[in-house]
Amino acid sequence: MAGLDADAPLFAQVAERLAAEIADGGVAEGERVPSSNELAAYYRINPATAAKGINVLADEGLLEKRRGIGMFVASGARLLLLERRRNRFAERYVQPMVAEAERLGIAAGELIDMVRAASHAQDGLIQEGLAL
């Protein structure tokens, strides 16, 4: 299984990776996503599992089926995913950061300064075309 781990159901991981690809713009709206057979061959998993992952996204309206051709990224999918990530952002990134800072004895003020500094650095990188 190229890159999938044993922590969560495989179909869920497949769905998540596809979603991440859509959110990051790796595959654009209206573009075809890999078929379940292609995903199965790539990840070396059962085609039914791959199909399940695709169906999860299709059920959420992120993919649409075009008969005889395949699955395509639905319009508005990227925005939908980014919004979802936004909602989770605080929980996923901010809370752990705050907790770790507390453990290390970094005061809130210092933490905010660090965030600002990092933000400037990121802008600088973007300007130089080196952003992540």
């Binding site: 299984m1 999938l4 044993a6 922590d7 969560a8 159901p9 495989l10 179909f11 057979n37 199965a40 061959a41 990840y43 070396r44 998993i45 059962n46 085609p47 039914a48 599992t49 399940k52 929980e91 996923r92 809370q95 752990p96 907790a99 770790e100 453990r103």
Partner: protein
């Protein structure tokens, strides 16, 4: 679900002990099912009985709705490749020819490409093959036959890790190209896990688990860290294994952990 293989109350008694004890399991048509278990658990016995090579003491076996025992019609649609398959005193190419006569779906092109991928020479006498090569031969025959019910019993004995990956990739490719019912027994759980749709676990001749592969992932979780934190975190869950070293602890608990909870300190 249409069951390609249907086993009910199957028991196999040998002198003194039960190799299989009241086994009931269905294998869905057009799926990949894994038969897992330790050595001696009864996997091979089960498959041999399903293939009509061994006889049950009691219970029933149905393949495509009919008993496979001495039933040419049903047996023709099956192939069973064993880890210790005994071959006649012929060459590799001969064995493939015979298999092609007896299997209507035989695909010679697939056989040729498999031979090339495994580096198996057609003109070599089978009795001169190494263990790994014999396993490769079994895999070539088992896959190229494209039998509706294809059973593999630990088919990779002697194959190195690379050859095993070749096998898994071919298995998937062939399964996609020509869907069939695949029953694969293995103790290399990690490697085969992704391929399986369904998992049947056998221990001491009994079926102890029969579930969709995805349901099993997340059926247990290992939590490690400072002992106090771990204990608090996993409170109230059944613990299946506990290991301690100093102030650290590693625990295996039942059930998955919600995504959010994995983020707490």
């Amino acid at each position: 679900m249409t069951a390609a293989i249907s086993v009910a109350g199957l028991t196999r008694r040998y002198r003194g002990h039960r190799a299989l004890d009241d086994v009931t399991v269905d294998v869905e048509a057009g799926s990949i099912t894994g038969l897992l278990g330790r050595n001696g658990a009864g996997k091979t016995t089960l498959m041999r009985i399903v293939a009509g090579q061994e006889f049950a003491s009691s219970g029933s076996v149905r393949v495509f709705g009919a008993s496979p025992v001495e039933n040419d019609q049903v047996l023709r649609r099956m192939i069973f490749i064993r880890e210790d398959q005994a071959y006649p005193d012929v060459k590799v190419g001969h064995a493939l020819r015979v298999a092609s006569w007896l299997h209507p779906n035989w695909n010679g092109e697939v056989a040729d490409r498999l031979l090339a991928d495994f580096g198996l020479p057609e003109s070599r006498a089978i009795k001169k093959l190494s263990r790994g090569m014999r396993s490769a031969l079994g895999i070539v025959i088992g896959l190229a036959a494209r039998a509706e019910v294809t059973m593999f019993d630990e088919p990779y004995a002697g194959l190195d890790a690379v050859a095993r990956q070749v096998f898994y990739e071919w298995l998937l490719a062939e399964y996609v190209a020509h869907p069939r019912t695949l029953l694969l027994s293995t103790h290399l759980i990690d490697e085969a896990a992704g391929l399986l749709e369904r998992v049947v676990v056998i221990a001491a001749g009994r079926v102890v688990l029969d579930a969709a592969a995805d349901d099993l992932r997340g059926a247990a979780t290992r939590v490690s860290g400072p002992a106090l934190a771990v204990d608090e975190f996993t409170a109230g869950r059944p613990v299946w294994e506990r290991r301690r070293l100093g102030s650290q602890e590693s625990v295996v608990v039942a059930g998955p952990l919600a995504r959010e909870s994995s983020v707490r300190t």
